[in-house]
Chain length 96, copies 2
């Protein structure tokens, strides 16, 4: 199991729109192959910075199967208007 | 409840030393005021990049009480030799 960590900066004033979009998109993730959970966090220091954490069984489930799916297109359609820049994405595995 | 997110880059070749240091430091966090958990993640893309996630009841529990404690000094003594740069720290709260 790995976690996708997406650092997201949104346009000023779109907090509500963005959070609603992520909430609406949650089922898109959860019905995708190998997806085991979605969480959204907001930075305490900078209110336009969010971190989306998605749990996947494998890297391929995210980078191949999800990225090439219509669910990914729908996800980007839901939140794309709020993004100030492309999300910075990396993946982590748990050590401790 | 908030999460401290510390982005840590270690010196090449110190992975084992660093992970052991974090493991040894775990009780230092867990006995500190307001601390509810410590997790360590390693980047899939870059093996020298780690993310330490610590759960705190309040920002002050981390930034004031922990930072001014002897536990913080002991934590830095355990892992300081492995760090390539000062950790980049921010805090997040859960939205979804």
């Amino acid at each position: 199991m790995i976690k996708e960590i997406a650092q997201i900066t949104i346009k000023p004033g779109t907090e509500q729109e963005f959070e609603q979009g992520v909430n609406q998109a949650k089922p898109l993730f959860l019905r995708s192959r190998g997806c085991h959970g979605v969480q959204l966090f907001r930075s305490v220091e900078s209110s336009e910075q969010y971190t989306l954490v998605v749990e996947w069984e494998t890297l391929e489930d995210h980078m191949v199967h999800f990225r090439e799916s219509s669910e990914f297109q729908q996800w980007r359609a839901l939140v794309g208007g709020s993004l100030a820049a492309p999300p910075k994405v990396h993946h982590v595995s748990k050590v401790l």
